[in-house]
């Protein structure tokens, strides 16, 4: 390694500290002879040394000391098992509520059936009411009869719950009554034994019945006049003792079918379950009642 003016400082320090070999030392001394200014500069640098003051001590070592404190962690090492247990309990609880929720409609049906142990059979055709209501009812009936024109027995009996008529004194009661009746609206499935049908030679495959075939709402202020009525059900019911409507589809053994009850006419696309109080009030209550009650 050749010594030049740019790198002489590295050589100089090693020279001062005696870290150069003999050959290197001779080379550097020759370089200093060539540069007398650098030689003068280096004089005395070797004596420059910082000497620590041994009497100087840190004043307060005790402030730096640390004492070991054992920390008690009761959950130490149990984080994952505890987390797993909590997650399991949550999943179990969620599953229970889901399972409970799935049972709820069935239990409701049973309770509804038990609430009316003696259903009253009422004919569908004789409905009392205003001319308007009768007209709408007849239209609805005609519509169904057109659809089921192949039915051999025109007389149809419908099995339904007896709906006690309530008198409506004012608008508040009307609303309350509608809400109560809305809760009662439900879809019922009726199981019909095929063997019974065969005995009567009635080829009824499956039927459904609406618990709300009709509903009469009487306004006491309107002299006991029937003021509201729900249209007939979409499917018709048949029993061995009554006339049944034959459907096209073949069946096997006892069939349990469930139909959603639709309001014929302009409400065909809506089910009872989708109707809230406001829409029920708007769509079910006849316009002349709304006009009279200023709804």
């Amino acid at each position: 390694m050749k010594i030049n003016i740019d790198k002489y400082e590295v050589w100089a320090l090693d020279y001062l500290e005696g870290n150069l070999s003999d050959h290197q030392r001779q080379m550097f001394e020759g370089f200093l002879e060539d540069h007398p200014d650098l030689k003068a500069e280096m004089e005395g640098i070797g004596q420059i040394r910082l000497v620590p003051d041994e009497t100087m001590v840190y004043p307060d070592k005790s402030a730096l000391y640390k004492t070991h404190r054992a920390t008690i962690l009761p959950w130490f090492g149990l984080h994952y098992p505890v987390a797993a247990a909590v997650a399991f309990i949550l999943i179990l609880g969620a599953g229970y509520f889901i399972w409970e929720g799935s049972l709820w409609p069935a239990s409701t049906k049973v309770s509804d059936m038990t609430e009316s142990p003696n259903p009253v059979i009422q004919p569908t055709s004789p409905i009392s009411g205003t001319e308007e209501m009768v007209t709408s009812q007849q239209e609805a009936g005609n519509h169904e009869q057109k659809d089921l024109s192949f039915v051999p027995a025109p007389s149809i009996d419908v099995e339904e719950e007896s709906v006690p008529e309530k008198t409506i004194s004012n608008f508040t009661e009307t609303q309350k009554h509608i809400q109560e009746r809305q809760q009662d609206l439900s879809i019922r499935s009726v199981t019909i034994d095929k063997s019974e049908l065969m005995e009567d030679e009635q080829p009824v495959q499956s039927v459904a019945v609406s618990t709300m075939e009709k509903e009469n709402i009487t306004d006491s202020k309107q002299h006991g006049q029937t003021v509201a009525m729900l249209p007939v059900q979409e499917g018709l019911v048949a029993s061995p003792a009554r006339t049944a409507i034959a459907l096209d589809r073949p069946s096997s053994s006892p069939v349990s079918r469930e139909f959603k009850v639709h309001i014929p006419g302009e409400f065909l696309s809506e089910t009872w379950s989708n109707i809230n109080v406001a829409s029920l009030k708007e769509k079910v209550i006849p316009s002349f009642i709304s006009k009279k009650l200023n709804l």
């Binding site: 400082e9 500069e41 640098i45 040394r49 910082l50 620590p52 100087m56 001590v57 840190y58 070991h68």
Partner: protein
Amino acid sequence: MTPTEFNECVDEYADNLFRYCNGLTGNGADADDLVQTAYQKLWENRKKLDKKVARSWLFKTAYRSMIDTYRKVRRERDYRNVQQEGVSEFSERVEQQDLIKRALVVLTEEQKNVLLLRDYEGYSYKELCDITGLSMSNIKIILFRSRKKLKEKLIEMDYKEC
């Protein structure tokens, strides 16, 4: 590093670190702060550090702490010193008896750091490279220039006092 080993580090290195920091700052109180900071950081990182490297780690941390935080304070202090130059100059002369220590003010922080580590603690060039992160050539150049500066300053101070 266990708490026991940490306390051993306090016993073995606290005085040297204090002298080193005192050389860096030229002030006992500031040196005390730097020592406390260095040991506090050592305690916080004790699980990652072994006692064998604690010594160089302490000096390195003290120097970096000085660079990071103390410079701001010193800058403000320098401003105040300029305002009170006439008063403080005399008092400094009375307080600072060691010429070499007084001459350290002419050195840069980096020069002081390398020189103190070399002369006070006796670190080898290779150890200085590890601590400072500088190359061997740079370490040697810094050391040579530091000594040359100190020599010039001492000559100047000796001339003034004489």
